[in-house]
Symmetry: C3
């Protein structure tokens, strides 16, 4: 019998660019150390998983409004601090490039390659009116029960 793998879970709630980068760096690090890693995207965190382009789906007015108001994908997220009317994210992306560090989009790609489980919270998708077609490919869809199943077997459980 092979030893069971360490497990790590992250609830990504905030949807901030800086916090998303931190979440994916921890997640990719853990996967590199052979942990089974799950990131559970809920509330504003779901915005990090939206496709960059507008996707035509049938929605009510309120759901459309949420769709317009919320950032569309990893390249549009704001910062949790020092947002400076949108200049902050540009600065951060600039220094990331300058230091040859990975951008959030690249960190997400790496996560997929490493087999990190990216789970969209179906309950908040319903509330915010986000549909599967609007989110990037390769996601799983589940609720709080699935998260707790993973978290109960993990030692590192973070809410970001």
């Amino acid at each position: 019998m092979e030893p069971t793998k360490e497990k790590t879970t992250i609830v990504f709630f905030s949807g901030d660019l800086d916090k998303a980068i931190a979440a994916f760096i921890i997640a990719n690090g853990a996967a590199a150390y052979d942990h089974e890693v799950t990131i559970f995207f809920t509330f504003w965190g779901l915005n990090a998983m939206r496709k960059d382009e507008v996707v035509k789906v049938k929605k009510g007015m309120l759901e459309k409004a949420f769709g317009w108001m919320m950032p569309r994908g990893a390249k549009k997220l704001g910062l949790s601090k020092m947002h400076f009317m949108g200049m902050g994210p540009k600065l951060i992306n600039h220094v990331i490039k300058k230091h040859n560090a990975l951008s959030l989009s690249q960190l997400i790609e790496l996560a997929k390659e490493q087999g990190i489980k990216l789970v969209a919270c179906t309950m908040t998708m319903d509330l915010l009116g986000l549909q599967q077609d609007e989110l990037i490919d390769g996601l799983e869809y589940a609720g709080v029960a699935a998260y707790l199943g993973d978290a109960t077997e993990a030692k590192v459980n973070l809410f970001i």
Copy 2:
């Protein structure tokens, strides 16, 4: 000997409506899976446990000022994002109702029914000048030692 129950703890610090909903959904989910769950309310998180109505208690000026400035109870909390001068919480409560999801007040009631331990941090109560009469019934009162006692026995420990 019966097997010991899984334990889950949440430090609820932020006092934001959206984060409170996430905290109580995770907590109620864990309790439904038979975890022993503790939510430890500290700093602005205590505001989620205030009674809706004004409670007459003797206070100094500064404590009164804190009392006025901070949201009074679960129905008055703001959002961590997209607050829109108070329109955001109304929108969220609207979509929650529309989808027949539970409001924060209902999630708190459910938590009590499920025997989730709701603990108010006595140290921050002192700092912010909040008194037991101003908080909802059914709370326990303790400090960081009690939190650590629970957290050390739990696998899922979140700071929200």
Copy 3:
């Protein structure tokens, strides 16, 4: 063989005064209960570890700009809520003094005395252009791998 100690880790990301106080109260509490405690300072959290005074180091323009814009040390941090143009932190520090509670600077000193491991994230130091000379003495310097090494052995792992 002596029993292994409980371990506790905190990623301090936010750099807010109120969250820093919460992080150090939990960390010092855990150390008092004989846990091995690590606080890992990343992103804006690094600002809590800056020296109060301006330190002359050679930097590029952008790194200088970050240095100016970000709060210089534990005494300059803002609040996550109720910042009120800088009045909020003064109020909090006032009530802390009034109640004979420890200030953040004192909590940091206590953490050092208790042997809490304070680790600065080298990757974000690079990104934000912070150098070792600008941070307080007694820090360790490491990356996400070191954090994960500690966290995997800990039961209480928080992201603050």
